[in-house]
């Protein structure tokens, strides 16, 4: 395995573990500890990607989260992942990665001719063209869309699991560089519960890219001590992705991707939902690129990345370098290059005054030191081969002299540093511009948070450690830890400390030869200086307009490299200060987070939403029920016998109830115990009818309205004792009704003496209905006198059913003789089975919700939510009888508003189709006369519709404008197919209009 650029010694890679991986189908070697980027550079692969718009060749520019260009497709098949940054993707044996956005290959990309079309493609061109002819966009879009996006999503479902956990801590330290490590140590020594997270595969941050053994030693010493605290948790490969209100942060831990094909039981990623009392942001700083002609060529690299590759990964990113900087940090990188066999032809520094202690040292080692100069242009086809250097005028606005050319295959750039203020800003604070350091630094904190180290604009390693340590201690203190004398932290010495001095340089002025070339600001979106100028000319001058017009900062890197330069260039164009321009809004996430991880385990048939089951559920399964989802509940829908269609099953079930007896599991009804001296008065308020005079032992139907007068819920409530009621609600309304009542009781009528207790789960409800119901009841409740006299309709009795204490309600939703037997749920299945056994001789038939719906429709009973929709009053539903005239109740006042007393409101009616076999679709609209003219005025719609086996014909319920006074009228339904179905309006009670059957 030929790793041409691998240094013979050094680095944090594990040379004992060689790894082979594929890039674009070719096999390369590397070591465990390498990223794809470091391994490709080791193998002298420079061209890794093509840019989005112009398809220009792109290489590796950074070494971490800031990388804008090297986005790769990782893995094949179900585990394929789009858009991973090469700089943060660890390699393992067998890894396959490939370039995207290029065809046929990254080095021979057909679409690179886009580069020649670029004059047409500048900012905003889409908005100015592709408009004609009128429908043209649909065609253009198809073509344009082909060029969209980077990687591909896998065509198979994700085989991996994702974990999610809540955590609390006193101090969360974000970033495990020297500052963060010191902060964690300070907080830990102060006795705090600490979490320390770093997105990298190793702790150490900036120390990993230094040459200093001492620094590495320091890191491992601190880590060793941290590991000894039981209340300290260290997280590698964990990005703090979002910072929300309430000091709530979201961490994304990547657990298995780096292990590759090694089998593991682990979830692939884990989301930590962290509540931190205090947060220390030691997220470091991001180096800025410089803006000059063709600054996007492969081989142009951040100087800190060059140091990273050399010191951390033992890779030479080039053989002959030129350095271009406007601040001191690149001097250190120059030394790293020289010490490791990378030639440095020239160090081009925009500054004229340079006090860096390394200046002389470098000059001594043969580097041509060019003060007050800038690189105006990089040359090369698919990677840098040379640069042109000129002198910069004193005001920085123009160039002087003639270009001097230097050959090189690596151009290390440093435009200064930008503190990673992302999380600080996400927390609600506003970064401020520091003129001295030419960067945005954290402003006053908005939440319990403090930024330290490079993240606060303090770029010196020594101060980073002591400041971090202090910040950790004071965070622990603020979190409530008792801080007593703590030992001082071990210092780190730096042979070459320098003050951070910078000459702001946001763009290199144009020069004659380079004017036509592109100067990139946002590398991922191919946003150039020219684009910004055009946007300014056209009036897109707010930074937010600029962003949206030129896509500056819109990429997967969210402008980590480009934004600051873009904002500065905009400011220059407008002649205003950077602080006036401001930043765009920092939003989560810091780096993108996998959807699967955010979803966690709450997906799929089992966990997407809780499945609620009744006590008899297993019996239904054993008896072949098909289930319907009703809210979270699974309810038997119908019980097909083998070979039966749904219609056949439902017809059979319906006839069984009407002719013999059926049994349905009604356990899902909401049930509430209401107790207290004011219980009846309370019911008077929430129900439209009166509850004052209901005798103990009786039941009554009630209707609840919202304050807007619209029907909200209904159900039967029984009076169990003097102060004691038992309310039932609809299945779907159970939770809402309880909280509705609690709310009124607690907030509006706190002096009412009444308690509510949900007992939905306590009682299993076995409802038997049909002419034979009494015979069964008598069998299973031998001590009960179930005669009509002793146990009349709309009463209830306590009794023993199948040896279990039960509450039996004689109510009916089917119009038949019917009993609802309530038994404690733990006996539910047993009693159900015994009832069923007792009913065998009478032909007992289990029935589901569909049959229930048909039976009640035959009786014209409404289902709230199906026959009503939040715009129907009791009057509309033909239920004015239930609204008491003598008292107020919630919603009553609304019923007398002018719109609620209109005669032509939609009213509840029955419908009969002329063809008795035609079953209308539920939801079908009703019109006076069939017509092809559109729009056709609609006068109502079908709310329920079934084939009634008992009546041998179809029936429907509907709401029709002024329908109550139009009995017998012939109207029409025009179906989606265009077919028009004549129907006549009728009374909504189709069966046993006198209600005799339930009273027998």
């Amino acid at each position: 395995m030929n790793q041409k650029n691998r240094l013979p010694t050094g680095g944090q890679i594990d040379r004992s573990q060689p790894v082979s991986f594929q890039f674009n189908g070719r096999t390369y070697g590397g070591y465990t500890g390498d990223t794809v980027a470091s391994a490709l550079l080791a193998n002298d692969v420079k061209l890794v990607a093509r840019s989005l718009k112009y398809h220009r060749p792109r290489g590796i520019m950074g070494s971490g989260a800031e990388e804008p260009s090297a986005l790769l497709q990782v893995n094949r098949g179900a585990r394929s992942i789009p858009n991973l940054r090469a700089t943060q993707t660890e390699i393992y044996d067998g890894l396959k990665v490939s370039s995207v956005n290029c065809w046929p290959s990254v080095s021979l990309d057909a679409l690179s001719l886009m580069n020649w079309l670029s004059p047409f493609l500048q900012a905003g061109f889409y908005y100015k063209t592709f408009m004609y002819p009128r429908k043209g966009w649909m065609f253009y879009e198809k073509v344009i869309r082909r060029a969209a996006g980077f990687g591909k999503v896998s065509s198979e479902p994700d085989p991996d699991r994702y974990d999610k956990i809540n955590a609390w801590c006193d101090v969360l330290v974000v970033g495990g560089g020297p500052t963060g490590l010191a902060a964690a140590l300070g907080a830990a020594r102060a006795g705090a519960r600490v979490m320390l997270a770093d997105e990298g595969q190793q702790f150490g941050g900036g120390f990993l890219r230094t040459e200093s053994e001492d620094n590495l030693q320091w890191v491992s010493d601190v880590l060793r001590e941290l590991e000894e605290f039981s209340e300290v948790r260290l997280f590698k490969r964990t990005t703090v992705a979002g910072y929300y209100d309430g000091n709530f942060l979201v961490l994304n831990e990547r657990l298995t991707d780096h292990l590759g094909n090694a089998t593991t039981r682990n979830a692939r990623e884990k989301i930590w939902r962290v509540r931190a009392k205090q947060v220390v942001l030691s997220t470091g700083a991001i180096e800025r690129p410089l803006v000059f002609a063709s600054n996007d060529l492969p081989g142009v690299m951040l100087s800190s990345a060059v140091s990273d590759y050399i010191n951390r990964y033992a890779v030479k990113p080039g053989q002959n370098a030129v350095i271009f900087t406007n601040n001191d940090t690149a001097y250190r990188s120059a030394l790293h290059m020289l010490d490791n066999g990378v030639g440095v032809g020239a160090l081009v520094d925009a500054r004229t005054e340079i006090s860096d202690p390394l200046f002389d040292k470098l000059a001594h080692r043969g580097v041509k030191m060019m003060k007050g100069s800038v690189v105006v242009r990089a040359q090369g086809k698919k990677s840098v081969s040379a640069v042109e250097v000129m002198r910069l005028s004193a005001d920085g606005k123009s160039l002087e002299g003639t270009p001097e050319k230097f050959d090189c295959d690596l151009l290390a750039v440093s435009g200064g540093w930008s503190p990673a203020v992302h999380l600080h800003a996400q927390s609600g604070a506003k970064p401020v511009f520091d003129d001295e350091k030419a960067c945005f630094v954290p402003g006053p904190a908005f939440q319990n948070e403090i930024s330290v180290g490079a993240a606060s604009g303090n770029f010196s390693a020594e101060k980073a450690v002591s400041d971090g340590y202090q910040a950790g201690i004071s965070a622990a203190h603020s979190a409530g830890c008792q801080v007593v004398d703590l030992p001082v932290i071990q210092e780190v010495s730096d042979a070459y400390t320098s003050e951070y001095a910078i000459r702001p340089l946001w763009q290199v002025p144009g020069s004659g030869s380079s004017d036509r070339l592109k100067r990139f600001v946002d590398f991922q979106n191919d946003t150039t200086v020219k684009d910004i100028k055009i946007a300014v000319q056209e009036g897109y001058q707010s930074i937010e307009h600029l962003k949206r017009y030129t896509l500056l900062g819109f990429g997967t890197d969210q402008g980590k490299l480009g934004n600051i330069n873009g904002m500065a260039i905009l400011s220059e164009e407008l002649g205003q200060d950077l602080i006036q321009t401001g930043t765009t809004t920092f939003r989560p996430f810091y780096t993108p987070v996998t959807f699967g991880a955010i979803a966690g385990r709450e997906i799929g048939p089992t966990f997407f939403d809780p499945v609620r089951k009744t006590a008899m559920h297993d019996w239904h399964v054993e008896h072949g029920a098909e289930f319907e989802n009703v809210g979270q509940w699974k309810r038997p829908w119908y019980y097909p016998k083998s070979g039966e269609t749904m219609d056949q099953a439902v017809n059979r079930e319906c006839l069984a109830v009407r002719k013999q007896v059926g049994v349905i599991d009604a356990s899902t009804l909401g049930k509430i115990e209401i107790y207290g001296p004011d219980a009846a008065e309370f019911l008077n308020y929430v129900y439209t009818n009166s509850w004052s005079n209901l005798p103990v032992g009786s039941c009554r139907y009630g209707l609840m309205l919202g304050e807007d007068g619209m029907i909200m819920d209904d159900g039967v409530t029984a009076k169990l004792g003097d102060n004691h009621f038992y309310m039932t609600t609809t299945t779907g309304g159970a939770a809402a009704v309880l909280s509705w009542m609690e709310r009124w009781r607690q907030t509006e009528w706190p002096s009412m003496r009444v308690y509510f207790t949900s007992v939905t789960d306590q009682w299993a409800v076995i409802s038997i209905a049909g002419p034979k119901a009494r015979e069964i009841l008598t069998k299973v409740a031998p001590t009960l006198d179930a005669s009509n006299d002793q146990f009349p309709f709309m009463t209830f009795r306590d009794s023993v059913v199948a040896s279990v204490e039960a509450r039996i309600f004689r109510v009916s939703f089917s119009g038949e003789l019917s009993y609802e037997i309530n038994v404690p749920s733990d006996c539910g299945k047993d009693v159900w089975e015994k009832v069923f056994e007792a009913g065998m001789e009478f032909g007992i038939t289990p029935y589901g919700t569909e049959t229930m719906h048909v039976l009640r429709a035959e009786k014209g009973f409404i289902i709230v939510g199906q026959d009503t929709d939040g715009s129907m009053t009791p009057v509309d539903m033909g239920m004015s009888w239930i609204v008491s005239k003598n008292k107020d109740c919630l919603g009553k006042r609304s019923l007398s508003r002018s719109d609620c007393i209109r005669e032509d409101r939609k009213q509840f009616v029955g419908l009969l189709t002329e063809d008795p076999n035609k079953v209308l679709p539920e939801g079908a609209q009703l019109v006076e006369l069939p017509t092809d003219a559109r729009p056709t005025p609609m006068i109502g719609h079908v709310t329920s519709s079934y084939f009634s086996a008992s009546l041998g014909r179809s029936i429907a319920l509907a709401v029709v404008k002024g329908g109550k006074s139009r009995m017998g009228a012939r109207i029409h339904s025009i179906l989606m197919t265009g077919e028009s179905v004549p129907v006549s309006i009728c009374n909504p009670i189709f069966y046993d209009r006198e209600g005799e059957r339930q009273n027998v």
């Binding site: 996006g149 999503v153 959807f595 997407f608 679709p921």
Partner: protein, 416 residues
């Protein structure tokens, strides 16, 4: 101002000395206008444009406290459709959809209106009843609408999980082929440019801080850039409507909530239709740049913060992964929030007020982007004639007194 076309584009490309002119001017406020529109979102700009183009009123200012299009117009999921349930809403949104269909040509600005079809999924029997009810009503109102079976759905969107074993299986969908998405920013910019061309002053960084009235009649607006006189004032401030109503001593039936949206990293085109699901709560489309644009539900508390809770996003993403299992390994790039002005019946208020010359257009809540041209069109009519157009007659503020709400909640599958 130059017309935008492929020819001007080419001329600019070839002649480097040519520079584009401003899309809209940057005028200082005059002392008074015939009409001042408060709020430079899509609706406000459209109102100004139609006042000028349809009603011949040119002495207009649009005052915007920040940058135009920076409110909900700039942060929505851009779904456009007209398949609303109730007649009043359906006719209004359909008017808007018809305007969308030639908006790019009308404005000479490509708003990239992409009629790729919008699907509303049903996951239970009641959903399916509601879908039939709404689609059938659409058909009778002359609005295109289809009902799809799971089989047809998976032919159009093969990557969707239509398994009957899902927790809430997809039972069917309504489908409006003329629906789609548009480039939201371009809508604001296009209206601004076209209005500017007709003489409208688009004034940014100018916040209205008071409404000056005299004898029950409006006289103008106090702003951070001084008083601006106006014979008529049209308020189109979305999330901030209540704040401005208070300045005029009016109460509004509105609550402002955070509504969040998010985008994934850009991926190669894989989803060519807009898919919405109320029951599992997520809606999604893929933009022409490749990112998945996803909308969540409102946060339950009031919020003027343009941000919401992470838990809302978690539920939203779970819904998306549930519907599209292959998106599990896609990554979320960014999420944000807007301030939506929600009315009790989820329908807008486009109305005169008790103050003479003061008009409100608000309450669009989670779904007004699609109405942008139509809303501007009827509001311009309302302001110019001092009476509503028949299309917005039902959307008066008086409906909250009479009870004639247009209940687009629930049954209508209202959302975005």
């Amino acid at each position: 101002m130059k017309k935008y076309s492929v020819f001007t584009l080419a001329r600019h490309a070839l002649d480097r000395r040519k520079s584009w002119s401003r899309a809209w001017r940057d005028p200082s406020p005059k002392t008074s206008y015939d009409v001042v529109i408060v709020g430079g979102g899509g609706h406000g700009l459209a109102t100004a444009y139609y006042l000028a183009s349809e009603h011949g009123i040119n002495n207009i200012a649009v005052v915007e406290k920040g940058w135009i299009g920076g409110g909900n117009t700039g942060r929505n999921t851009t779904i456009v459709r007209s398949n609303y349930l109730w007649d009043e809403a359906a006719h209004l949104y359909e008017k808007s959809l018809v305007l969308w269909e030639s908006l790019s040509q009308e404005l000479n600005f490509n708003v990239m209106f992409s009629q790729r079809g919008v699907m509303n999924l049903g996951h239970n029997l009641q959903d399916m009843r509601d879908i039939y009810r709404r689609s059938n009503a659409n058909m009778l109102n002359g609005i295109d609408s289809e009902i799809l079976t799971p089989q047809q759905i998976s032919e159009i969107v093969p990557i969707m999980n239509t398994s009957p074993y899902a927790r809430y299986p997809v039972l069917g969908a309504s489908f409006q082929r003329r629906g789609g998405i548009a480039r939201h920013d371009a809508v604001a910019w296009g209206f601004a440019r076209a209005a500017d061309k007709l003489g409208v002053d688009v004034i940014q960084n100018c916040e209205v801080t008071g409404i000056r009235r005299n004898n029950g009649k409006v006289e103008g607006v106090e702003t951070t850039r001084g008083f601006i006189g106006a014979r008529k004032v049209g308020v189109v401030a979305a999330g901030h409507s209540s704040v401005i109503a208070e300045m005029a001593g009016i109460r509004m039936p509105i609550e402002s909530h955070p509504l969040q949206a998010l985008v994934s990293e850009p991926i190669k085109p894989i989803l060519h239709t807009v898919v919405m699901s109320n029951a599992v709560h997520g809606y999604i489309s893929q933009s022409d740049k490749g990112e998945l644009v996803i909308g969540a539900g409102v946060d339950s508390y009031l919020g003027y913060g343009q941000r919401g809770s992470f838990s809302t996003i978690e539920g939203n993403i779970a819904a998306i992964v549930e519907l599209f299992p292959i998106f599990s390994r896609v990554r979320m790039l960014r999420h944000w929030g807007g301030i939506v002005d929600v009315c009790p019946d989820a329908c807008p208020i486009i109305s005169k007020t008790s103050v003479d010359g003061l008009y409100f257009n608000c309450g669009w809540g989670t779904g007004g982007f699609k109405a942008t041209p139509g809303s501007g069109w009827v509001f311009a009519h309302t302001i110019a004639r001092d009476e509503p157009h028949h299309l917005n007659a039902a959307f008066g503020i008086d409906r909250f007194v009479s009870g004639a709400l247009i209940n687009e909640h629930g049954a209508a599958g209202v959302a975005h």
